[in-house]
């Protein structure tokens, strides 16, 4: 078997970037603790078994302000029904890491649970689990609170400490050139692109302005993925053709809710992998 698409670049500078042979250029999202801690562990393993390149683990929050109904419901279920908190999530992440030392893992959380837990402490815990990338949708990556996660690179010091924790900026097509240059100069090297102006789980479309942003990111040696609304392998392929990585969340939650996750994952896997 071989990957028909250009070999994905590893997440720049991350030490845990070895890819399994049948790797799919997908970042697969799940909500920790949904529908239970044990079940979310099984989902993570199903993603890994299907060759998902990067696992995106979301810490559930009572009021996810940028998510659509499926992820909101999943978060609420984890928080309200299962009482899942950040400590329980980190224990589960530790277990996933123990079982899959080579897997690329990024963590996703809204700001308040991390703020209450302590941003410095969050960084410390994640680095100890060999996790180097974090998505916080409501934290501008250059705000004072973001600095608590670790220092940004300054222009004069191009070699950033490899052992640091980096935020993944979540960009829309309305990012200005100036701002994009500033983020690149600050050392951010992995970017999440919103497919269009929408919340997660909405219908898929690709904003025409994304191509220019992707070119700039790739020219600067940064990696990026496209997410929000990707619900079919065909859409994922469009995203992968555009930037090399598709980010999928709600579609897999829906499949899991309908007891067809396994089948769904093999369909997606087949779409990316052809027999050689």
């Amino acid at each position: 078997m071989k990957n028909t698409l250009p070999q994905p670049k590893s997440i720049a500078d991350a030490p845990d970037c070895l890819l399994p042979a049948a790797c799919c250029p997908l970042m697969c999202h799940l909500v920790l603790g949904y529908p239970s801690l044990a079940e979310s562990l099984r989902t993570a393993e199903a993603y890994i078994a299907a060759g998902c390149e990067i696992l995106e683990l979301q810490i559930p929050f009572s009021h996810p302000t940028a998510d659509g109904p499926l992820i909101t419901e999943a978060c609420r279920h984890a928080v309200e029904k299962n009482g899942v908190d950040i400590e329980a999530c980190l224990d589960l992440v530790a277990e996933i890491r123990r079982r899959h030392p080579q897997q690329n893992i990024v963590l996703m959380s809204y700001l308040n649970p991390l703020f209450v837990f302590g941003l410095e402490k969050t960084a410390e815990k994640l680095l100890a689990l060999d996790i180097h990338y974090l998505i916080v949708p409501d934290l501008p990556v250059d705000s004072p609170q973001a600095a608590l996660l670790g220092p940004l690179q300054d222009d004069n010091d191009p070699i950033r400490d490899d052992k640091g924790l980096k935020l993944i900026p979540v960009l829309g097509a309305n990012i200005s050139d100036q701002r994009l240059e500033k983020l690149l100069a600050s050392g951010f090297d992995f970017f999440y692109l919103m497919s269009d102006f929408k919340i997660t789980g909405a219908t898929f479309s690709l904003h025409p302005r994304l191509n220019a942003i992707i070119s700039r990111l790739h020219a600067a040696g940064a990696r990026c993925g496209i997410g929000f609304g990707i619900s079919t392998p065909q859409q994922a392929k469009l995203a992968v053709e555009a930037c090399g990585l598709a980010i999928v969340g709600s579609a897999f939650i829906q499949a899991r809710n309908e007891n067809r996750l396994q089948k769904c994952l093999s369909e997606w896997q087949n779409a990316f992998i052809v027999e050689s």
Binding site: N112, V116, D138, Q145, V170, L171
Partner: protein, 440 residues
Amino acid sequence: MQPTSYRHTILQSSGYFGPYGGTYVPEVLLPALENIAKGFDEARQDPAFLAELDHELRHFNGRETPLTPLPRLTTQLGGAQIALKNEGLNHTGAHKINHCIGQALLARRLGKKRIIAETGAGQHGYATAAVCARYGLDCTVYMGRKDYERQRPNVYWMELLGATVVPVEDGAQTLNDAVIAAFKDWVTHPEETYYLLGSAVGPHPYPQMNTFFQKIVGEEIRRQSLDQYGKLPHTMLACVGGGSNAMGMFFDLLDEPNVQLIGVEAGGKGAKPGEHASKLLGGKAGIFEGYHSYFLQENGGNIAATHSVSAGLDYCGVSPILAWLADEKRIQFAAATDAEALAAVQTLARTEGIIPALESAHAFAHAFKLAPNLSPDQLIVVNASGRGEKDLFITMRHFQEESLTAYAKHLLSGQQAAGSGQRSQQSAVDSRQSAVVYGH
């Protein structure tokens, strides 16, 4: 150490008030917020903008609003002199329109044609719908389903004014959920839409901007108090939901150390989690909905449920400026319960002929406790942030449940309501309750 001037610090701030405030939003909203912040900075220094604002505040909104002495209440409470600032006499019935006019003029100046807003009590939504109609802007208002039902008269007014009111079915279906729905709309249309946020909360520049547009309330109080009483108030009280009417009333007097400022939060049914909306008294520091402040929280940073009989106070967060001034001990905070607020509505109605909004009634309830302990040469001013007509179905259910039921039947059947106009037993009980408040 007291800074040289609270007023200066707040108006010059680039978004932080002590550690609080900030701009904690998705990257995709940063351009819109920067555009608004820059536009606001320019507008507030532009004499033409300020002249148009002043014109609209006078001739559309009906400012200034009176500082009304309350002699019968003063006598009955037997302590300080009491007066109220009647923001209920603003067009559309509450202080909210002060910042709506300001923001709508700004939106127009920025070339935005589509306005979105959240609303709890419906007063901010109603005022937004009115200014949008006046300035020819498209208007969508998000309102939690629970508030949509309990503040039904305002839903109707908004729709009559041409706004689209979207009931939010998510979560607890109150103000917090409406704010989130509005943010989701904005993320979906960040380039053409102006979010006309309705309190001194949210990311920069909203806390500062709404304080700027509301500060006329305190400026008038200063002038009226000197004219009518020859002195500044001893104590001023305002209810606190997000903090727009409180900041409006308090701002101009922040640097007068002898004027005591008290914010009154919603004590709801009691101090148990989920039964109130007192975030400065019962919340803790957090970052949510774009800003760092005090929030009601549970289990490691999740946002807790809130309760208040008044939809406008039934919200989990509070202005970052108030959070800072609370830490600075410049403003004190207290709480009044649902029952105390309901009783205060009736007391003010019967003693002074003024029906306050349930939100504002919280400030009155605390003033009733305070006044007997002060002396007649001391003046208390209470912010009547809104009038009570919007609460028709809440207060009527409470005071005259039978006649409400009869009226509902009458509307359905087209027949004469039986027993309308009769005072129910419930209302007699509440008269006794308000007498208890007098007794403090």
